[in-house]
Structures are given as structure tokens and as C-alpha cells.
Symmetry: C2
């Protein structure tokens, strides 16, 4: 009986429409690591134009700038996160983490009979 039942939470933020979720969060984290939106997009097998649109959309809907781009240079420019983007990622990660911790606490109580059957 080594099967078990687990859960996965997805958190999406909305203003007038969807503005932030796991996709944007992952993209921002990759930019943080790779210092380039183009490299981040490639690393996620995402078209650069799509990555750019996702970010611009999030910036517009949340009314804050997320990326600082530096044009030119040997590697064709780079990108870093704004202080607000870092704060947003922290807020999102913290929100997800606390929800997951709370979920852990009540999961067995809710799904006990289904856990037992596996």
C-alpha cells in the first residue's frame, strides 16, 4: 500500500483579469537566476515574445514595473528584477507556502477515508 493521495495548490492573482500565477512566478525566478529574459524564456522552452507579453501584462495589471532591462553589451543586454518584483515573488511564495502548510494540517481530517483506501 505505498500509493498515497496528495494535493497540489495553484494560486492565481487577478485584478480585472488574471495577472499573476505559477507561470509568471517561474519566469521571474529564471530571470533572477539567468539575468536575461531571453535566456529565462529559452530555459522554459517559451517563445521570447510570449515571455515578454506575460510580463508586460502582469506589469500593466498590477501597476508596477517588474523588470529592469539593460540594452546592448557583449551578450545583447540583460534583465534584473525590480525591488517590487522581488517583493511580489516573496509575497506569492510566502502566500503559497502558508496555504500549503495550512492545507497539510487539515488534509488528513478531510480526506482520511480516501487515504485509507489506497
Amino acid at each position: 500500500m505505498d500509493k498515497k493521495i496528495t494535493y497540489k495548490l495553484t494560486v492565481r492573482l487577478f485584478t480585472e483579469e488574471k495577472c499573476f500565477g505559477p507561470g509568471v512566478a517561474m519566469l521571474l525566478r529564471r530571470v533572477q537566476e539567468l539575468h536575461s529574459l531571453r535566456a529565462a524564456a529559452a530555459d522554459l522552452s517559451m517563445a521570447y515574445s510570449k515571455a515578454w507579453t506575460i510580463l508586460k501584462n502582469a506589469e500593466r495589471l498590477m501597476n508596477c514595473k517588474l523588470l529592469i532591462s539593460s540594452a546592448g553589451g557583449k551578450h545583447g543586454g540583460g534583465a534584473t528584477l525590480t525591488e517590487e518584483a522581488v517583493a511580489l515573488l516573496d509575497a506569492y511564495d510566502g502566500f503559497c507556502r502558508e496555504l500549503n502548510a495550512f492545507g497539510e494540517e487539515i488534509f488528513e481530517e478531510k480526506f482520511g477515508r480516501f487515504i485509507e483506501k489506497l
Copy 2:
């Protein structure tokens, strides 16, 4: 300042693979209302074969029967939820509801600065 930021949680359950989420939950609720898997699928603009596959998959992965089908009759048979399916829906709805209530409590603390900007 009438824009505001909100969140939406999605909960998915997994055993060895994804076995339950908002889609199956909605399908089961429609069966509960309409007493027919075919009518439930149609109501959700879903192919009957897809609805059937989703349910069979959930039953297999969770090791419990979810639907009781009655064949024949004037309207071509019907379906009702098993006692376990009702319990599963209750557990899922309760889990989502409590997570959302907890999320409400901590959302402003986490996203306050972004809420203020809108």
C-alpha cells in the same frame, strides 16, 4: 481606485497521477443535479466520452466507485452519485473552503503594498 487584487485557488488531488480537481468536481455536481452523466456532460459542453473517461480515471486512481448507473428506461438510463462520491465532493469542497478562508486572513498581510497601488 475601484480596481482590486484578488486570488483564486485551485486544488488538485494526486495519487500516482492527477485524479481529482475542479473539473471532476463540477461534473459530479452536475450529475447530482441532472441525474445523468450524459446530461451533465452536455451541460458542461463536454463530450460524453470525455466525461466518462474523467470519471473512470478518478474511480481507478482513488480506488472507489463514484457513479451508479441505471441502464434503460424512457430517458435512456440515469446516474446517481455513490455515497463515497458525495463524501469526496464534501471533502473537496470543505478543503477548498477552509483554504480560501485561511487565504482571506493572510492575503492583505502578504500583498498589502500591491493592493494599495491599484
